[in-house]
Structures are given as structure tokens and as C-alpha cells.
Symmetry: C2
Subunit: 279 residues, 2 copies
């Protein structure tokens, strides 16, 4: 197939490598000329350009820009396309993106590969990034079924495991397993760091080991990414946070009222339930 990729960061470049490995013709667009040269030199794409006109006759276009640029990119892209082109994105929140893009292009299918590394950018590109990773597609009632099918087959060929659901379902699921953990983890770092007794703070810093390291990891990550989750998934995240706070209150109450048996039951349930998320 003839496939376009807009935005040559970690996801866009990795898609380029993976798709070329499978014999597709890949055309890349980046605003940044040096990135275009690099992508071509490293054979991430067959051809690259800062101009959307390069993508005129592509069958599928992946928009791999940051979330805030997805809809504006689509608007600028539209005048260059043939009507048959399927457009998809890789944004990590779907309701807002699909709501903005579907009215602009009838053949738009929201997408979200749950793949990543600690590193970002074209230098971190790897063709196996999607292997065994979940990849969510979020068609709406008006999305052409045939377009979803074509995308699903293409993505499956990269080794990813496709999940199809609504944008709302996607956003609530990632609020639970990705965005809520970031907020409660950031809250942990903030709270401990606010210890006013310097001796005590330094002691805590010295004694911190794997438990603190793991629980605080996602809360100490990229600030822009944290804000982006909150901004674009505000509704589902707020709902998750309120639910979380009620449970936290319950745990605090049990501790203050010395209800050790009930607390034990909670821990027994969390040990059992956690394993269901890590299959």
C-alpha cells in the first residue's frame, strides 16, 4: 500500500520502519527539514517532505503529531487528498480527537497504539515497537466499516493486538490504567517532598527504595504529557479521581478506626484483582 505518515517522532518513525519492513511504500511529512532528510537517510520512509502534497495519492495516512495538532493538521491536509484516503491518528485520548476530526473527514478512524519507550523522537524509532502491544481503534456509527477492516488488518500485520471500542470506552479505560496512576503517583511525590523537617526529608530520601521508586515513577515523568492527559481526558479522569478519593477515604477511616480485619480484606482483594491486569 501507499501510506503517509505525518509527524516523525517515536510513533511515526517506528510505524515507518515497521510498514517498510512489510513492503509498503511509506511517505513521511515533517515540518522540520532536517528530520525529513534523516528519515530518508535512515530508510524510515521512502520519501519525505515538509509539504502535504506528497501525500496526494496515499491510501492511508497516519497523523502522528502531538494531540493538540491532530485536528489542525487534518484541516490543512484535506485539500491535498483524494476522497478514498483513510485517515487515522495515534493520539492517546480519543473522544476529543474523534469529535473534532470525524466531521472533517468521513473516512477518519481514531487510533491509539499503547506502545512506547522511555525515550522519544526519531532516534528512538524501532520497527518492533508495536509487537504484542495493544492498539485501539475507535470507530463511530458513521465510520465506514471497510476502512476499519483495512486498518485492522494492516495494524495486525505489525504484530499489534487490535481492540475496537468506542472513543468514550477507550478514554475511560485509559483514565483507569494510565491517567489516574499518573495523578496519584504525582500526588505521592508532591506530598513526601513537602515534608518541612529537613532531617526527616533527607532520611526519607535515603531510605526510599523499590517501593517508592515504582509507585512514584509515572508521577515523575514528562510534565507536558501529564497536563495533556488531564486536559484532553478531563471528564473521565475527574470521574476516576473522585472514585479513587472515596476509596482513599475509606482506607483512611479503616486505619483510624482500627478496622484491621476490613483492611486485610481490602488487601486480599487488591492482591487478587491486580493479577487480572497483568496477564
Amino acid at each position: 500500500m501507499k501510506i503517509g505518515i505525518i509527524g516523525l517522532g517515536l510513533i511515526g518513525s517506528s510505524l515507518g520502519l515497521a510498514l517498510r519492513q512489510r513492503g509498503h511504500q511509506v511517505l513521511g511529512v515533517s515540518r522540520t527539514e532536517p528530520i525529513c532528510h534523516l528519515a530518508q537517510a535512515r530508510r524510515i520512509v521512502d520519501e519525505a517532505s515538509p509539504h502535504f502534497s506528497l501525500l496526494a495519492t496515499t491510501e492511508i495516512v497516519f497523523i502522528c503529531t502531538p494531540m493538540s495538532a491532530i485536528a489542525p493538521t487534518l484541516e490543512s491536509l484535506i485539500p491535498h487528498l483524494i476522497p478514498e484516503t483513510i485517515i487515522t491518528d495515534v493520539g492517546s485520548v480519543k473522544t476529543a480527537v474523534v469529535g473534532a476530526c470525524s466531521p472533517l473527514w468521513h473516512n477518519f478512524v481514531g487510533g491509539h497504539p499503547l506502545a512506547g519507550t522511555e525515550r522519544s523522537g526519531i532516534d528512538a524509532a524501532q520497527p518492533d515497537l508495536f509487537k504484542n502491544a495493544p492498539y485501539v481503534l475507535t470507530p463511530t456509527d458513521t465510520t465506514p466499516t471497510e476502512s476499519v477492516k483495512i486498518l485492522q488488518e494492516l495494524i495486525t500485520s505489525l504484530g499489534a493486538v487490535v481492540q475496537v471500542c468506542t472513543p468514550t470506552e477507550h478514554d475511560q479505560a485509559v483514565a483507569w490504567i494510565s491517567h489516574l496512576p499518573v495523578m496519584i503517583s504525582a500526588g505521592l511525590v508532591k506530598t513526601v517532598s513537602e515534608e518541612q523537617d529537613v532531617t526527616l526529608l533527607e532520611l526519607a530520601q535515603t531510605l526510599a527504595s523499590s517501593g517508592f521508586r515504582d509507585t512514584s515513577r509515572v508521577g515523575g515523568g514528562n510534565p507536558e504529557l501529564g497536563v495533556m492527559m488531564a486536559k484532553y481526558n478531563q471528564k473521565a479522569l475527574a470521574r476516576s479521581l473522585h472514585h479513587y478519593r472515596r476509596n482513599l477515604d475509606q482506607i483512611i477511616d479503616l486505619i483510624e478506626q482500627e478496622q484491621w480485619q476490613s483492611l486485610q480484606q481490602i488487601f486480599e482483594a487488591t492482591r487478587r484483582d491486580r493479577s487480572k491486569f497483568l496477564r
Copy 2:
């Protein structure tokens, strides 16, 4: 030196191996006869017995029982000892233990090695367990300075990094970096598992990856250990949880009021501050 160890689980057995490696004579006491035989056969101790009389002339005794058994063990042990014996424990909360044990034995020094593995029991014993790990000693105003010094030198010889502080300081520090993370992590697992929409719950379980895995790890651990932290460190933990809840409320408010700039500042601070705990 002639050193006694009561309780031959992970910590007690590892201490035995480490101390014998350094030429000390190690005498072990376990209620369970087969454990005594095993400890002797594996050269974890020089000699083992279910009877405290074995420890009559030891210079130092490590009480390595579960927290609830430390003070009762000390009471039963006392009639068998010479007055010079230094007694220490390895319990992970110190105010309660030191408060109960110091009045019973003038030469008692509270201790807490922050060392462990996922596994427990004598089978998990390893002589290098304490290497580079923090080991806290919590003397009080009445603890003989010489006893603290002797213990400090012995523990340092095992490769551990000794920190000396008060029981209260210790308990607040571990509340911050160990016990608070367990509670907020358990709250995460509980909250996400309460999703009532089965399709959504299964989607969340499918999409969960490293972020959820790390943030939920300590909350899905040993239930008895979680209750023990709450029970023995109730005061410091409750204080930490209330502070945490205030910060969580602030994060929820910022998200609901769309204060993205302030939220960004929080994430910038948490990224910076987290690194101070992982030196």
C-alpha cells in the same frame, strides 16, 4: 563475637549467613525444629535450637520475628541472658517496638534493615542481602552509647549503610516512602477493579501496561504486611494519608477548574523532586 538470632526467616537467615562469613559464631533459635535442622545443615548458623537457653552467653541477640512477637519474645528470653547482652530487633516500625522493649531490657537497640526480596523464608536467605542497603538504628536517650557503637560497627561490616535516628523519625520516614505508597497503590487497584461495566473493566485489564503495573505493585502485595504497617505505624501513616488527600484534592480541583499552568508546575516539581529520592 558470639551472636544469637531468634527467628530464621529471610532476614534472620541472611544475617546468619552474613555474620558467619565474617567469622562470628552464630547461634539460631526457631520454634520450628525442622527449621533448626535446616539452618544448621545449610550452615546458616553454627548451632540451632528451639530453646532460648542456647543464647545464654551471647554478646548480641537479633530478634527477627514478626513485629507482634518481638516484645513477647524478649520477655521470654530475658531469664536466660547475662546482663551484658545487647538485644536488637529488625521490625519495620520502631516507636511501638522500642516503647515496649526498652523498659524490659536496658541494653535494647531498635533496628530496621531496609532490605528484602520478593521471596521470604529461610529458602530465600542470601549473605549479600544487606550490602549497600540502609539499616536504621533507633536508640533512645537511655540506650547505652557503647551498645549502639558496637552494633553500628557490626552492621557496617556487613556492607549496610547505618542511619541513626529516633524511633519517631524512623516511623515518619517509612510512612512516607514505604507505608503511604502501599495504601495509595492499593487504593488504585481497588478503584479500577470496581468498574461496574464488564466490557470496560476487561478493556482496562487488556490495556494495562508498565504504568499500571509499577503504580499498583506494592498495593497488590502481602495483605498481612499491609495491615501490619497500618496497625503498628497508625499515627504517622494517618498523618501522611491526610496530607496526601489534601494534595489529591488540589490536583482534582486544578483539573476541574482547568488550571493547566498550575498543574504543569506541579508535574515539573514532581519530576525534579522524585530524582532526590533515587540517588
